[in-house]
Symmetry: C2
Subunit: 419 residues, 2 copies
Amino acid sequence: MDPDGKAPEPHVLILGAGFGGVAALKALRKTRARATLIDRNSYQSFQPLLYQVATDELSIDEVGFPLRNLLHGRPRWAFHRAAVTGIDLHAKEVMLDGMGPLGYDYLVIAVGAVVNFFGVKGAVEHAFPLYTLRDAVRLKAHVLKSFEAADRDQSIVDDGALTVCVVGGGATGVEVAGALAELIRYELKDDYPDLPMDKAQVVLYEAGPELLAPFTPGLRAYAKRALEKLGVEVRLGDSVVEIEPARVHLKSGSVVKAHTLVWGAGLQANALGAALGVPLVHGRVPVNADLSLAGHPNVFVVGDAAIATDAKSGRPLPQLGSVAKQAGHAAGGNIARLIEGRPTQPFRYLDRGTMATIGRGAAVVELPWGMTLTGYSAWLAWLFVHLALLAGGVERSLTLRDWVWNLLTRRRGKRIVID
Amino acid sequence: MDPDGKAPEPHVLILGAGFGGVAALKALRKTRARATLIDRNSYQSFQPLLYQVATDELSIDEVGFPLRNLLHGRPRWAFHRAAVTGIDLHAKEVMLDGMGPLGYDYLVIAVGAVVNFFGVKGAVEHAFPLYTLRDAVRLKAHVLKSFEAADRDQSIVDDGALTVCVVGGGATGVEVAGALAELIRYELKDDYPDLPMDKAQVVLYEAGPELLAPFTPGLRAYAKRALEKLGVEVRLGDSVVEIEPARVHLKSGSVVKAHTLVWGAGLQANALGAALGVPLVHGRVPVNADLSLAGHPNVFVVGDAAIATDAKSGRPLPQLGSVAKQAGHAAGGNIARLIEGRPTQPFRYLDRGTMATIGRGAAVVELPWGMTLTGYSAWLAWLFVHLALLAGGVERSLTLRDWVWNLLTRRRGKRIVID
């Protein structure tokens, strides 16, 4: 325990470079630990804004941050782009695709979630999820190509070429539905003067009776009105049972002609949790109050992969970026304490509120002490919170200024699709 | 010929939205003609800067311009994203992929060129050309993935994972070799602290005795020195005879271990010229002094697809963006004259000089009246000329400011590759 570094340097291995993993790494800055970050991509995605990539408001460079920038000036940190294929808690080793196994003294598991299609037939093949940067680029390319195809052959318009179904009335579904409606109304309308744009529809399906179920009733009603004002058709109490390339089958029995279906309906735990050989809760890994794994005080699980309990309410914490980020920071801090021979601390989540946007200029915000905001003031609040979050990311520079400028001026991207 | 538009509006069909096609369209602004632009992509690429996309200096949004922006406020103009499959000069009709044929009163053929691999074995499969935006994105992804692969498994470094061969000592080869050397030296070196970067080599092969053959001997010698200063190995008088995924076979008999081969060695005429049924010169379409096709005064051919003769020297004009742009403008002007019942004018190319950059901060410039520039002053001249060219493009706005800022501060992109 020699702070001048003569003692052997402990090795911290962090799996996953989302909000949780990167926050854990940064919390190790002042320690003498070697740290290795592993992710299947060379960039971190700012997930709350993926829907803006899908709707051509932001470019991939504005939402992706190169992870190798974290290494600059930090000779004890390493990054490898690799997929995790297995974890051996007893041998303290992680198996990776394309390279040899890596040993660790401390492990942070922050591998996130994967999209849950709930077994809906055809969803894996034909639905467009929105969980990764690649998903966002795929969705954008598909929407723009559908409009180009309809421009070449207008007969496919009545087959649903310009109709987009969005499944899921949570924040993802509401935000992407609003942004798609704006893309069509403000941009594609000018680009395709000969297409019958009244047939370019966005339809949002929510199986439950309300949009944005975790928000207050007033905010839910506002969100529905705001979406409808943008031209989005909101269908509550109905759900999708089968998806074909150009048809969507609903539980109510009707069949909708639509060439695009966006899946914003839910997440499931990453399969890696099951490889740990511990009992799981809904596929997620239960953790101790200090975020460590029961029986493995040197292993921490954070973010969507974990199920942590709120110290105050005793209820499980939601799968949100802010929970992942704070938990990652706490896990990194606890590892730093263990390295120094000090006891760990329990994780306390600080709820700063939740929000969702409906197009540019409208949003709903619910603050933890009961205050709510709607409309332009809520949207400005959303803007500043995300600005602050982005500024805490790996890189900032031009991105922030351009992003605010683009939002305020309604400027969009270039609708460029590279085949 | 009623200028108030009561006479039937003639239809101008423009094939290809490169420098030539877009310039022809813009020259029709003040006419009463309907105009339809056809391209296989929905964007125009600024080809002189493609190498900067490949080396992560510019994003695709900065080098691609959405063609549909040209339509805004111009109800008589149309654009369709489609491939041209045939031209029937007698029926005055063009066949398109995915949509019905289009008739025309006036036709502008500006379909450009395609890469010429000169029959080198394995080139089609394994070489990375640099003629389209897609080519640039592919090359960037391949280079970055090679470094990631070597990071996971250093044993492939000695197999040539970090070695890039560039074929062709013309402007494309020189510019991409210099920019790749800088990417490695200034950016990837920091990103991959554990890789042996002395083994990350850029080797430039030119079959002839000199780089940049059309330039003066002083500029050629300067370009070679400047490249070597950046660490590029310049091999003159040798050429590539076969390409394998990780091996390059040279005419001299030696075999080079390299996982990347950039092909900057030449272009050939687009096959569409052959479909016209007129005698071709090296696959290119010979045109009259007014750029019209012999026997078809309503058909104009411009840019790389055409072979136009310089009015002054009597020699064929080179395949340059500036020739295509001026010829497109002249062809559009001649169509405007024909619509008004006036005679066409012969095309006169105004040579404003040629230039090539070697990394950031060095360039060679040859002006038409014999003056030459090298070094930082030449690079600044190159910068301002391209600024002026970009500003004349479809869109400008943030791109220009960011581009100059990035160049001056040596800032690069985010090395993001979406699989």
